[in-house]
């Protein structure tokens, strides 16, 4: 070993390190350089075209006029053309007949039978506590004087869901069998789920006019994807070995399906039906816009007249309906339900009085079940139906309900009694006034909800809208979309996104689209700023996660439209409540997926980081967040889509933009064309954002090795 060696080695090493660092720096400059050049090009184009501003009228395709023509043709030919007399009208008549029948039946049943039946179903699926709460929930419909409207909504839902299931399950089964069908369906289903519910109403109105049947059709179209998807998925995830075993025993494809695949897929199918019900409920409410009636109508009319209290009462009824339907179908989807006679959470089980009450209940239950089983056994013997003997509780319950129905039919007293009545609309209205008087500027200072709304409007929404719609020349915006999408997903994505962006202009919806887009950006920014930190906190503390979960569950169960009501109480109508409601609506997605992403990071990676002495903050920044990035970006993607859906709906309460234009089209026959075009603009905007965000998500997925 010479003396030179030790000194040479470090310098050699340091020079390679130097080289590395330089390389890194150059790479960073190159990638930053691309961005800088992009921005420079955009600025240059903007300066060159600064006089251009919004999209020129002359380039707009008069699609709206064509659609109005089509609408006129439809109206004129509704009675004569074959496609109506042989297809649309019979379909429409059949649905109408079914709806009337269900509605008539529900309203014919005595109110106490409806309450009892729902409570019994909930009890048998979820246990006594849920059963009692369900009973109270159903009573609430009557107590606020919306019995008929609630059952109308239920009937509407029932018919829509029945049609969805009748179409969705067979299609799902077929998709599971034929790969090609699945491939053909996937993009269609993706698109159907990406679009805001709202958009479906317009083409349906065009074909079927304004009434309850088109509302059902729109609902079916919107609510169909989950049941198809989950039937397909459920059947496809039946273990291959099981199917092979059935084949080996010589089962025909039909036998395999009936005896093996479908029973095993059933939990998944039921989950799909649960999702379908929830989606159906959310659109049935919005469908009030095209004359669906029911609870949605009450909310809508009350909001329009600014009877916020009444709107909240009806909105709460919708929420109650949603929660009942969600929990019951969820419970039904889980196999192996246990009967529980618990009134209180298990943590309170040691409290003496509660145990005592539960003891009494369980002995009553035992007695009832013994009586039921005596009856059931006798009935099963008499009717020769063996199965009856095994379900004493159901037989007893059924007998009670039947007796109740007979009593109702004989006495003729089926209507919800006026004596049971409950209203808090006045108090809410008072609260609205109080909020306006006291929170707008708290204690006469500058601070308050007014300040909050105003600053969001003045410093965020308005400048952004002005920037996109008139300050920037429209080619600059389109070019920016093109460059960004190219960077995210290459030329194919760039072509698609550029076409979407330019399409907004050609449809004549440039200004309105930019208005909506500005609202989306502000709402997404707020949702992310709240949602991701909440998700991080939830991931780090089990206790916080447990506290947060019911809140997020609740926010996700509320139909989007109803969420507007409480926000209006605080912020009055306008763009801001729409944005706030969007934030609330989208918050669960961002929070959940952040939490999930961080929690899914392998314990070993976190442990390794801790073993090297990293602080919690370092572990979060250097290990957990990077590894959770795909999930978090997926959360952002969902956030954006949810915000868009909500912002559009907020058009109803003064949010303006594309939503308002669409609503106008739904309300007034003379603007169906422009409403339709606005709906198409929503579709373009939704697809543009969704594709770009998905490309972004993919870049973070390690499998693709992208960085």
């Amino acid at each position: 070993m010479t003396t030179a060696a030790p000194s040479a080695a470090p310098s050699e090493a340091s020079s390679t390190i130097e080289a590395r660092l330089t390389q890194d720096r150059q790479r960073r400059i190159r990638s930053g350089g691309g961005l800088a050049i992009g921005v420079a090009v955009l600025v240059a184009v903007q300066i060159a075209l600064s006089s251009l501003g919004g999209f020129p009228e002359s380039l707009v395709i008069p699609l709206a006029d064509w659609i109005d023509d089509a609408r006129r043709w439809v109206i004129n030919n509704q009675t004569s053309h074959w496609s109506f007399s042989f297809f649309f009208n019979p379909v429409s008549d059949m649905i109408d007949w079914g709806l009337r029948a269900v509605e008539w039946f529900l309203l014919w049943l005595p109110w106490y039978v409806v309450v009892g039946a729902t409570a019994m179903i909930a009890t048998s699926v979820l246990g006594l506590r849920a059963g009692l709460l369900t009973g109270v929930g159903v009573l609430y419909f009557g107590a606020i004087g919306l019995w008929t409207e609630s059952l109308q909504t239920v009937a509407l839902m029932a018919v829509a869901v029945a049609i969805s299931v009748a179409i969705g399950v067979p299609v799902g089964i077929a998709a599971a069998r034929y790969d090609r069908l699945q491939q053909a369906l996937r993009p269609a289903l993706d698109a159907m789920q990406t679009l805001p519910a709202f958009v479906y109403l317009i083409p349906v109105v065009l074909l079927f006019g304004v009434a309850r049947v088109p509302a059902i059709i729109a609902t079916v179209v919107y609510a169909l994807p989950p049941v198809i998807r989950l039937t397909n998925l459920g059947i496809r995830t039946v273990p291959a070995a099981t199917v092979e075993a059935a084949e080996m025993f010589g089962a025909t494809p039909r036998q395999t399906l009936r005896k093996v695949q479908f029973p095993l897929a059933l939990p998944s199918v039921l989950t799909g039906i649960n999702q379908t019900i929830m989606m159906a409920l959310s659109i049935v409410v919005i469908a009030a816009l095209i004359g669906a009636g029911g609870l949605g109508q009450v909310v809508l009319v009350s909001l329009r007249g600014l009877f916020v209290g009444r709107a909240l009462e009806a909105g709460l009824a919708i929420v109650v309906l949603a929660v009942i339907m969600d929990r019951v179908t969820h419970g039904a989807a889980g196999i192996g339900t246990r009967r529980r006679l618990r009134l209180m959470p298990d943590t309170l089980a040691h409290v003496k009085p509660i145990r005592w009450v539960e003891g009494v209940l369980s002995s009553i239950d035992g007695g009832l079940s013994r009586a039921g089983s005596m009856m059931a056994v006798r009935m099963s013997r008499k009717l020769g139906v063996e199965a009856l003997g095994r379900h004493p509780r159901k037989v007893l319950g059924g007998a009670l309900l039947l007796a109740g129905t007979l009593v109702g039919a004989v006495s003729g007293r089926v209507e919800f009694p006026g004596a049971i009545s409950f209203s808090f609309a006045d108090r809410i209205d008072w609260l609205v006034d109080w909020v306006r008087d006291n929170l707008y500027e708290i204690g006469g200072t500058w601070f308050g909800t007014g300040w909050f709304s105003d600053s969001i409007t003045i410093y965020a929404v308005t400048p952004l809208r002005e920037l996109f719609s008139s300050d920037l020349a429209w080619p600059v915006v389109v070019l920016a979309v093109a460059l960004a999408s190219w960077r995210l997903g290459g030329p194919a994505l760039a072509a698609f996104c550029t076409a979407c962006a330019a399409g907004l202009g050609f449809l004549g919806m440039w200004t309105l689209s930019m208005d909506t887009f500005a609202q989306v950006i502000v709402a997404v920014a707020m949702a992310i700023l709240c949602g991701i930190p909440l998700g991080v906190l939830a991931a780090r503390s089990d206790r916080f996660e447990r506290m947060l979960k019911p809140v997020l569950d609740f926010l996700q169960t509320i139909p989007s439209f109803v969420l507007l009501v409480p926000v209006i109480i605080m912020f009055n109508v306008g763009r801001i409540p729409g944005i706030i409601a969007s934030v609330l609506y989208a918050l669960p997605a961002a929070t959940r997926l952040t939490n999930l992403g961080i929690r899914q990071v392998a314990g070993e990676a976190t442990e390794a980081s801790r073993a090297f002495g990293a602080t919690r903050g370092q572990t979060l920044r250097k290990v957990q967040l990077p590894l959770a990035a795909p999930s978090i970006i997926a959360g952002i993607n969902q956030t954006v889509m949810l915000v868009l859906a909500m912002v559009v709906i907020a058009g109803l309460v003064g949010g303006g933009g594309l939503g308002l234009e669409t609503v106008k089209g739904l309300r007034r026959t003379d603007s169906v064309g422009s409403g339709f075009v606005a709906g198409m603009a929503i579709v373009l905007l939704a697809m543009l954002l969704d594709r770009m965000l998905q490309a972004w998500t993919r870049r973070f997925t390690p499998v693709e090795g992208g960085n």
């Binding site: 099981t242 075993a245 059935a246 080996m248 025993f249």
Partner: protein, 368 residues
């Protein structure tokens, strides 16, 4: 348990068609099957075919027949194509070429209906991960085959209860499969396969998911069942010891091809190549090799003493050989003395095995 029925018939001069005859079964997975098959015909190797066409040769030219009442074991490591092969036998996987004849009927010619009929009436299968139906009770799992055939509930339950009794599960009929242990689940699988009274049973690594002790129990039980029911069995395994224990004949499979087919004794005493020899190294030879194959043929005088059977495995005679240095006389089935055996011959066999094993370590050993 050598194919007794077939042997007797042959001895009586009657020609009996084997119930299962497979001729040159080849299965290729991939897109460009024609090109792959053409290459195969030219004798190209598996690697070459895969490189040139992207097709995977799962099974290549598998030819064998299984006698009535025989247990035919196909032994190979994972990826050797054995599971694909067994599925070709019932067309759960369609072979790319070659024929499978069951009782003289080429099953490749059957239409869907005919194939179902064949599966319903003659074939049955036990699966590696049991393939039970998790949503059906044990009894409904077992009765599945009969249910598919349209049997009434009373009939199929009666038969299912009989079979469940045979496999020792009659107290578990109303449980669901996931409430049972692995060994019990596979008993359900076995009962389900037996319930339809098939002529031919396919076993796709049925015991490899089980604990060693349970596995041994199940093997013993299968042997005792087979002793009474005498079906034709094709049994897939990756466990050489299991193959030796169960098989009347064993096919060793490697890279989709049969390397050697023979009785356990033939395979252990004369491995066809280095690959097979490696398996035989730590095989329990004394449990497999028979006296007949190590004895010295009779020349001249007949030694005194009670003879040992020519078909006995060495384990059976070791105590006597160890007890005395004298040679023992060996008699055939008719009681005729045909040869002699002593300590040295057995020691030579075992020694040779260990030397071959040591030599195999540096890859210089020559097959015997």
């Amino acid at each position: 348990m050598v194919a007794a029925a077939g042997d007797e018939a042959e001895r009586a001069g009657i020609e009996v068609a084997a119930p299962l005859v497979c001729t040159e079964i080849t299965k290729v997975f991939g897109e460009d099957l024609a090109a792959a098959m053409a290459l195969l015909d030219e004798g190209a190797s598996r690697q070459v075919v895969q490189e040139r066409t992207g097709c995977l040769i799962a099974v290549r030219d598998a030819t064998f027949s299984v006698e009535r009442g025989e247990i035919f074991v196909v032994m190979g490591l994972s990826g050797s194509g054995k599971s694909t092969l067994i599925r070709c036998l019932s067309r759960l996987i369609e072979p790319t070429s070659g024929t499978v004849e069951i009782d003289g009927t080429p099953i490749g010619d059957l239409d869907d209906e005919g194939l179902r009929e064949l599966r319903r009436s003659r074939l049955s299968m036990v699966f590696q991960h049991f393939g039970l139906f998790p949503h059906r009770k044990v009894i409904d799992n077992v009765a599945f085959g009969l249910e598919i055939q349209g049997a009434t509930k009373a009939d199929r339950y009666e038969r299912a209860l009989q079979v469940l009794e045979v496999v020792g599960l009659k107290d578990w009929t109303d449980h669901f499969p996931q409430q049972l242990s692995g060994g019990m689940q596979q008993r359900v699988g076995l009962a389900r396969a037996l319930c339809v009274e098939p002529e031919i049973l396919f076993f796709d690594e049925p015991f490899s998911a089980l604990d060693p002790l349970i596995r041994r129990d199940m093997q013993d039980e299968l042997l005792s069942l087979q002793a009474s029911m005498r079906r034709t069995l094709v049994f897939i395994t990756h466990d050489f010891h299991e193959a030796l224990k169960l098989g009347d004949r064993i096919a060793i499979m490697k890279d989709g091809e049969f390397v050697q087919v023979g009785t356990p004794e033939q395979i252990v005493s004369a491995p066809a190549d280095e690959y097979v020899r490696e398996f035989t190294e730590d095989a329990p030879k004394t449990k497999v090799v028979t006296v007949g194959s190590v004895m010295r043929p009779l020349d001249g005088e007949t030694p005194a003493g009670e003879p040992v059977s020519v078909g006995a495995v060495l384990d059976d005679v070791l105590p006597r050989l160890l007890a005395s240095p004298e040679e023992l006389c060996v008699a055939d089935d008719q009681g005729q003395v045909v040869g002699t055996v002593d300590r040295d011959q057995v020691a030579a066999l075992l020694d040779e095995g260990s030397r071959a094993g040591a030599a195999a370590g540096d890859r210089t050993a020559e097959p015997r």
